[in-house]
């Protein structure tokens, strides 16, 4: 009888924390691999338009971005309120786009170049005039595959 009674009084050993760093490291590596740091600082305000027929940009390394929108508040004194183009970290004009596309193309491996995509991040209140100019420049520099970046619209 006493043989069984004794067992209940035994103290639980503390849980070993030796494997804790391993678990944390595992999580750490996961986030390190999946993370993408924001590469540019937006100098323009962009509120993307909404759409339903979206396709994802799968390979980030093949995408080059063109941003269009009103300059942020701190740049409005120098650049004004009218929508401007931003390439990389700088304000640019329509004439700079061809050089930008060529530079982006040079930075890629030769076999990846045909699959390059240009993503247009344009504010929804921008007038089409500037967008059409950009499209003409892209056509001239043979960057024909484009993606109008937009948000997912929730269907009511």
């Amino acid at each position: 009888m006493s043989k069984f009674r004794n067992q209940g009084k035994k103290e639980l050993p503390p849980i070993s924390t030796a494997s804790l760093p391993d678990i944390v490291f595992m999580l750490l590596f996961f986030f390190m691999v999946s993370t993408t740091m924001r590469e540019v600082n937006y100098k323009v305000d962009i509120r993307l338009p909404e759409a339903t027929e979206l396709s994802k940009l799968e390979k980030k390394s093949l995408v080059s971005y063109i941003y269009v929108g009103e300059p942020k508040l701190q740049f409005q004194s120098t650049f004004g309120m009218a929508p401007r183009i931003q390439l990389n970290d700088q304000f640019a004009t329509v004439g700079d786009i061809q050089d930008y596309v060529i530079a982006e193309r040079e930075a890629r491996e030769e076999n990846e170049r045909p699959q390059m995509i240009t993503s247009l991040k344009v504010d929804e209140n921008t007038k089409m005039g500037i967008v059409s100019d950009i499209k003409q420049e892209l056509r001239k520099s043979a960057a024909l595959h484009i993606n109008y970046s937009s948000r997912e619209r929730v269907e009511r």
């Binding site: 924390t17 804790l20 760093p21 944390v24 490291f25 999580l27 750490l28 986030f31 390190m32 999946s34 993370t35 993408t36 740091m37 924001r38 338009p49 909404e50 759409a51 339903t52 027929e53 979206l54 396709s55 994802k56 940009l57 799968e58 980030k60 995408v63 995509i117 993503s119 247009l120 344009v122 504010d123 929804e124 209140n125 921008t126 007038k127 089409m128 005039g129 967008v131 059409s132 499209k135 003409q136 892209l138 056509r139 001239k140 043979a142 024909l144 595959h145 484009i146 993606n147 109008y148 970046s149 937009s150 997912e152």
Partner: protein, 191 residues
């Protein structure tokens, strides 16, 4: 006699790793960029561009967007909510209507000889059109073609278009080509 080096304490290892973990947790952005995918036409020198009006009028679905973001579809005011239905009707032409585009018999794998529409959607916008409206219109036109493809895929293969194998997708794409042409923008009315 060599002095024994004391073991480095590893108790703080977890803390350091946690700190790094929190840093990456905060800086990480998981959102995948997505958007409307389009292909621009090849650049043509304006001087070489000759105006050929060989395309029959009934084969063109004209969508105009003016500077006040109003829509003119086939010559009359229209609402963006009806655009998708009208574009679908135009591309499919189920009853072989005289005013809707002609069809041409074409050999297509999996389907045999099929009547393929000659219809082209022409989208023209004003320089002052808002980008948001333009994307909304583009979205409706792309959606119309995607829905037609999806309906055909379900009817024929019992699966949505996106889940089909590559060559079946190609066959459906041949029947409903994504022909949205964008004319060079210019002023299109609206005072």
């Amino acid at each position: 006699m060599a002095k024994k080096i004391p073991e480095i304490p590893s108790a703080s290892l977890a803390d350091i790793a946690f700190m790094l973990l929190i840093f990456f947790l905060v800086t990480t952005t998981m959102d995948v960029d997505s958007g409307l995918e389009r292909r621009l036409p090849q650049w043509v020198d304006p001087e070489e561009l000759e105006n050929d009006d060989r395309i029959n009028e009934r084969n063109v679905f004209v969508v105009l967007v003016n500077r006040n973001n109003d829509l003119l579809v086939e010559g009359e005011y229209a609402d963006i909510d009806n655009l998708r239905e009208r574009a679908k009707e135009f591309m499919a032409n189920p009853y072989n209507d005289e005013t809707l585009p002609e069809k041409e018999p074409t050999q297509i794998p999996y389907f045999g000889e099929t009547m393929v529409t000659k219809g082209v959607i022409s989208l023209r916008n004003d320089l002052d059109t808002q980008y948001g409206t333009y994307i909304a219109v583009q979205n409706e036109l792309v959606a119309a073609i995607n829905e037609l493809r999806d309906e055909l895929a379900r009817e024929r293969f019992g699966k949505p278009y996106k889940e089909l194998e590559g060559d079946r997708q190609n066959a459906i794409r041949d029947i409903y080509p994504s022909r949205i042409s964008e004319a060079e923008p210019k002023k299109v009315g609206g005072n």
